[in-house]
């Protein structure tokens, strides 16, 4: 067998042979295609930390769903969705009515939510349940889970397509939109809702602790490749899909846990991009060095 053939075999065989690997790949691809563009807007709106905090805040809702309905993916997702929205809303309210800024309110609330969630699962479930909720179980994703991720992805992409222009304007020049009689709150709320939907979709694959992995890392990596927004959104999605594929294959071949393998792969792409991509560290330094000194 040729070198190319064995290389293809090494990377592709796991997906050809095993249905659970194909399901995991399909779910991660759907997740990447919607989460990464959302992540791009989060980074551009300087809300990266908020995404991280909301992801952790999803846990108590997931736990409540688990307590009342057992390991039903639908109940856990619904609980997570409600909890995520509640914490995002509460952080906004707290920022308005207390001396804390919004990021501090988020940090406080997500810690409370995370601790509460861990407590709930520990009391009502096993260590394995807790591990699955914190770190995900992408290889165990079933048909129902796949459909849920696909639905979340579809909804996100449709809303992004409809609200794209408004979201861009609201990010770059919020006063312009307000002067045209559109309260910024509507688009902001809609956007936060999309963030939560994607984090809930991501939790069963990557767990509540790493669900932001496929949201922020591809987005951050893509920033080093282009400064054109539509290209940036597409690049982030593509990087997410690539990270999912490479991560899953590596986790299968080297017997790594798959969630961390995917996130670490995305992380490696991010580090490499921010060093060597056209708008990364090295190229920027070279360009600066070439500029005539004034």
């Amino acid at each position: 067998m040729s070198v190319l053939g064995s290389l293809m075999d090494w990377w592709l065989r796991p997906f050809v042979e095993f249905a659970f690997m194909r399901r995991a790949l399909a779910a991660c691809c759907a997740l990447s295609l919607s989460s990464s563009p959302i992540g791009v807007f989060l980074t551009l709106r300087r809300m990266s930390l908020m995404g991280d905090a909301t992801a952790h805040a999803v846990l108590p809702g997931v736990a409540l769903g688990f307590v009342f309905a057992g390991p039903s993916i639908l109940a856990m997702s619904l609980g997570g969705f409600v909890a995520g929205l509640a914490v995002a809303g509460l952080a906004g309210v707290a920022a308005r009515f207390t001396v804390l800024r919004e990021d501090a309110s988020f940090a406080a609330l997500y810690l409370i939510a995370l601790a509460f969630g861990v407590l709930l699962v520990s009391v009502h479930g096993t260590q394995v349940d807790l591990m699955h909720m914190l770190f995900g179980s992408v290889l165990a994703i079933d048909r129902e889970g796949c459909l849920l991720v696909a639905a979340a992805s579809t909804i996100t992409l449709i809303f992004l397509a409809i609200g794209y222009r408004a979201l861009v304007v609201e990010s770059v020049d919020p006063l312009f939109l307000q002067a045209h009689g559109h309260g910024g709150t509507l688009f902001h709320t809609l956007f936060i809702t999309l963030v939560v939907i994607n984090l809930v979709a991501g939790f069963q694959a990557l767990g509540t602790l790493m669900a932001v992995g496929l949201m922020m890392l591809p987005a951050a990596a893509a920033r080093s490749w282009t400064i054109d927004l539509p290209v940036l959104l597409a690049a982030a999605g593509a990087i997410g899909v690539l990270a999912a594929f490479l991560g899953l294959a590596l986790s299968f071949r080297w017997d790594f846990p798959s969630g961390p393998a995917i996130v670490l792969t995305a992380g490696a792409i991010y580090v490499a991009s921010s060093l060597f991509a056209p708008y990364g560290f090295v190229s920027t330094r070279l360009r600066q060095a070439r500029l005539p000194q004034t």
Partner: protein, 250 residues
């Protein structure tokens, strides 16, 4: 109360402030402002720092609501208002091209979903030409100088084809060349019969180029023709009022 009421009489002023009070939290930004801005004038809003000049523009543009009183707009202006806030409101690091920024001026027609027509594109190109930015269409806004960005924002104002233009310190930190060019744009709006209201600091500029002024010190000190407003007594009065509230907060 709600920000805007449209008057029925075309002979009325462009904007009437009727006992307008605006609050931010517990503080009062402007109190009981009664003033009229005549149609088709070049009106400068002047006054010491913290006098509530930007607040007044925010109320007219509908961004800020009045706590008491009302703002009445002439029906021939209706909702055709364009507002240029201070540049700090804009996120310059956002990856958007100059042409796209200018095309936002067509928002009233396109909103979020409608296609940008080739006519709009041509108008955006023309607007960029009018402010001297031809050739920079594809540049990201982050790569523009402060002066170039202000020119691009003026191009967006040109696109908006508004009857009432509200400009908040449009020449702040601009070089003299940019200021001259943009003043010409202001004057062309004036010649076309549009009403221009600009917050300004440079009294020489106001005297040289504007027809009317509104002198503000959290209340309306004077309003009307330049020579009746910019008198030594009025300016001294505004300074005294500013000194009073500065002491009050110290």
């Amino acid at each position: 109360m709600g920000p805007l009421v449209v008057a029925e009489h075309p002979s009325e002023p462009a904007v009437s402030f009727e006992a307008v009070t605006v609050r931010y939290g517990k503080g009062t930004a402007v109190r009981h402002v009664d003033a009229r801005i005549a149609l088709g004038t070049l009106t400068a809003v002047i006054g010491p720092n913290g006098a509530g000049k930007s607040t007044l523009l925010n109320v007219v543009s509908g961004i800020k609501r009045t706590a008491a009183g009302r703002v009445v707009l002439n029906s021939c202006i209706g909702h055709r208002i364009a507002y240029l806030p201070q540049q700090s409101a804009l996120d310059r690091s956002f990856p958007i091209q100059v042409l796209d920024l200018v095309l936002l001026g067509a928002w009233e027609r396109t909103h979020s979903l409608r296609r940008v027509s080739s006519i709009d594109r041509q108008r955006a190109q023309d607007a960029l030409g009018a402010v001297g930015l031809t050739g920079l269409e594809a540049r990201p806004i982050g790569s523009l100088s402060a002066g170039q960005l202000q020119r691009a924002l003026f191009a967006r104002l040109l696109m908006q084809d508004a009857q009432l233009l509200l400009l908040d310190e449009p020449f702040n930190a601009m070089d003299s060349r940019t200021t001259q060019d943009l003043l010409e744009v202001l004057k062309s709006w004036h010649r076309e019969g549009r009403t221009v209201v600009a917050v300004l600091h440079d009294m020489e500029q106001v005297r040289a180029h504007f027809t009317h002024a509104l002198l503000l010190a959290r209340q309306c000190v004077a309003c009307g023709l330049i020579r009746t407003v910019l008198t030594a007594e009025n300016l001294a009065l505004a300074r005294d009022m500013a000194a009073e509230w500065a002491e009050g907060t110290a």
